[in-house]
């Protein structure tokens, strides 16, 4: 029975390794040179381990079978053999050196962030990713777009359940892109298996990494470092496109950003703000304060029928602009633009029966942010 198990185990492993790409049982080969190198290292060390394992377990199970007490085996009297011991110390060292050399080369390559064509700042936030294309004036938040009805089992789950976002990170292929990674609150970890990039985002510090994608496509990943309640719900989607397509996309985003910036100075109607505020609320606020503003006390206070919030507009705006230190409420000063903040403040003051009629203007928010 034991030996059967013993043979089954490696057989399963080998079968698993071979079927890997088809079934998603193994590490993806990925779409960058580095991801391929890593896959190569992974498979090499794996087969080395399998070989050693077969040898060691082979001897072991042979002994267990052959030298059974019940079959009258008599124990031999031998112990300590210096040359054997030297051998089984030296051979593993050589194998390890053999592994360390290619691993070192790959690692050095991974650390070389010089001569990048594009710098992208990746900022982890509870619980979303923010992407800023440095020097391009393009920045946006990327939230999970899987509806909570699916998570709760109230709706059928889609193909990319939990691995879909409202705005993917768009990157050009064949160009070296440097990532600057940081966080606004706790440590997150940005991981896309197909790109073989996993890097922690440390609040207050910046980590560097880089990627050069060989094939266009949509690559999905997740936050890999426990970062609080919704750690499981901050996916990453990278949309790798041809270079000219990327340039068009970037130009569009710049244009849109300029439009939005102009929106700060004009007067907004209540309806307009409400319409703009609802998606912002759903994307940013609802994961803690819940869909109907009912909150989840004591950690996350209710916003609906919150007397203090309705009575004191300045206090309300201050909470959103500057956050509440020592709690999970972050400062949205740099995450949301003035239009978005004005809209979401307006929305929370008028949705769910609040009906204060306040239409908070982006210009007044912009002033507060400058302060």
């Amino acid at each position: 029975m034991r030996s059967l198990w013993q043979w089954l185990l490696p057989t399963c492993v080998i079968a698993g390794a071979n079927q890997a790409q088809a079934n998603g049982w193994n590490m993806p080969v990925g779409v960058t040179d580095i991801s391929r190198d890593i896959y190569g290292l992974h498979m090499t060390i794996f087969w080395v381990c399998v070989a050693i394992g077969l040898l060691v377990f082979g001897v072991m199970f042979y002994s267990l079978f052959r030298y059974r007490h019940s079959k009258g085996a008599k124990a031999a009297e031998f112990h300590e053999h210096t040359s054997v011991e030297v051998l089984w110390t030296a051979i593993p060292v050589l194998i390890l050196v053999g592994m360390a050399v290619p691993a070192t080369a790959t690692l050095k390559n991974m650390y070389d962030t010089s001569e990048a064509d594009l710098d992208v700042m990746i900022i982890g936030q509870q619980w979303r990713w923010r992407y800023e294309y440095l020097g391009e004036d393009v920045a946006f938040n990327s939230n999970m777009s899987t509806p909570w009805e699916q998570i709760r089992g109230e709706a059928a789950r889609g193909e990319h359940y939990l691995l879909e976002v409202d705005e993917p990170l768009v990157l050009p292929i064949n160009r070296k892109i440097r990532f600057l990674m940081t966080s606004d609150d706790v440590i997150h970890s940005w991981w896309v298996p197909d790109l073989a990039v996993k890097q922690d985002t440390i609040p207050g510090f910046i980590n560097e990494n880089w990627v050069q994608i060989n094939e266009p496509g949509i690559y999905r990943g997740q936050c890999a470092e426990l970062c609080g309640v919704n750690h499981g719900f901050m996916p990453i989607v990278v949309h790798a496109v041809e270079e000219d397509e990327f340039e068009i996309w970037l130009a569009e985003r710049k244009e849109a950003a300029e439009q939005e910036a102009m929106g700060v100075d004009r007067e907004w109607e209540l309806d307009e703000l409400m319409a703009r505020g609802e998606p912002v609320y759903r994307a940013i606020c609802a994961s803690c304060h819940q869909a109907e503003g009912q909150g989840a006390p004591p950690a996350f206070p209710a916003l609906a029928n919150n007397a203090q919030l309705i009575d004191d507009l300045d206090w309300h705006i201050d909470r959103i602009v500057n956050g509440v230190s020592g709690t999970a409420m972050p400062a949205f000063r740099s995450t949301l633009n003035p239009v978005e903040i004005a809209a979401v403040v307006t929305y929370t003051r008028n949705a769910w029966g609040g009906d204060t009629g306040d239409a908070v203007q982006p210009a007044s928010i912009a002033e507060k942010i400058v302060q």
Binding site: T82, E85, T89, T104
Partner: protein, 57 residues
């Protein structure tokens, strides 16, 4: 002195001749071995740091 270092190095890779070990444990003073072990360990760590730095270029 050399004998102590030899023993410590042998211990480092987990190999020691029986007779040599009997010899070592016959001497009642462990202090020499402890000092040598600490020194060898320090050198080992320094070598490792050096190798890492050279490899990092």
């Amino acid at each position: 002195m050399w004998s102590i270092i030899q023993s410590v190095l042998a211990a480092l890779i987990g190999v020691q001749k029986d007779r040599k070990r009997q010899q070592d444990f016959a001497s009642e003073k462990p202090l020499g071995f402890i000092v040598a072990a600490i020194l060898v360990t320090l050198i080992f760590v320094l070598i490792l740091i050096l190798v890492a730095n050279i490899a990092a270029g």
